[in-house]
């Protein structure tokens, strides 16, 4: 299942239309979307104007890939689970937000290995296809590990008083 969220405040037709199109081309994959208030209808996705926090967290937990606008509030739950996260920032020049701060947020998040930033609908579909070709993340099963830099920092903290030279 793919879960898309564009928050609950502003519509984001560009993202949702791209995803609806992708869903039409990939009928074997279920797509669930939190759309916010919108007058548009999407025929190939299961849509919710707004989810409560619990439903939101459960849907993220079930999702194989999360697609989101680059709003901090909505992407944090996805980030914490380590699920593949595709971010498409809203653009002020297309009337998708008041300013371009989501482009900055997305750029910041792009340093994380599970995050892909898609500037347009074509990039979004490419990223989605690539994410779906990867093996699914088993949240909480401990199959995935942090990068070596952090592992080494924690390990040397644990042993630092026995090997003082290893103190981080």
């Amino acid at each position: 299942m793919i879960f898309a969220t564009v928050g609950t405040q502003l519509p984001f037709h560009r993202l949702l239309l791209a995803l609806d199109t992708w869903a039409a081309l990939n009928p074997s994959v279920q797509v669930v979307a939190q759309t916010g208030r919108t007058s548009a209808s999407y025929n190939h996705m299961r849509t919710f104007p707004q989810m409560d926090q619990r439903q939101f967290a459960e849907t993220v937990a079930r999702a194989r890939v999360v697609v989101a606008h680059a709003g901090m509030g909505t992407i944090l739950t996805a980030l914490e689970t380590g699920k593949p996260l595709i971010l498409m920032p809203r653009r002020a020049d297309l009337g998708e937000h008041r300013n371009d701060h989501q482009i900055d947020t997305a750029a910041e998040m792009a340093s994380l290995s599970n995050v892909t930033v898609a500037a347009d609908t074509q990039a979004l579909c490419t990223a989605l296809n690539r994410a779906m070709s990867m093996p699914p993340v088993q949240a909480g099963r401990g199959a995935d590990v942090a990068p070596p830099q952090l592992i080494e920092a924690v390990r040397s903290f644990i042993w630092a008083d026995q090997y003082p030279q290893a103190r981080p």
Partner: protein
Amino acid sequence: MTVSIPLLSTRRPASRAAATPRPRRILAVASGGGHWVQLMRLRPAFAQAEVHYATVDRSAAEIVAPAPVHLYPDANKDTPLRLALAALTLAVIVLRVRPDVVVSTGAAGGYLAIRFARLLGARTLFIDSIANARELSVSARLSQKVADLVLSQWPAVARATGAAYRGAVL
């Protein structure tokens, strides 16, 4: 879970062999959801140590088996009664485990465990959740007053708050 008063007999001998490394006991603390997921990603760092886990979700036990798992009630600053109960439970857990090192990925329970473990002389590390990309969590800020090391997973947050940055779990 059963709550028992720690007995003197559970203490380890006071003598410490300085030359040869002795088994190192870690208490790894994380509340549910993303905090636990992030702790799991750090497991390779615990190799060669004896690890006890403390968390809020019973189903965590099968993930880390055969390592012992201690449970405490999930709580935050908006649930003061449960928070007091969590504090009490974590105090008992810390007394029973007597860790050399406490590592936590949050949230409130991690801070509480660190506070108690400091009283017993343990070395303590709090790693703030990757979700805190703009500022430290309340638990991380409180931990800065007591923990040996507090890490942020975001360089900019680390710079602004005096926390350290050693990379992120993702």
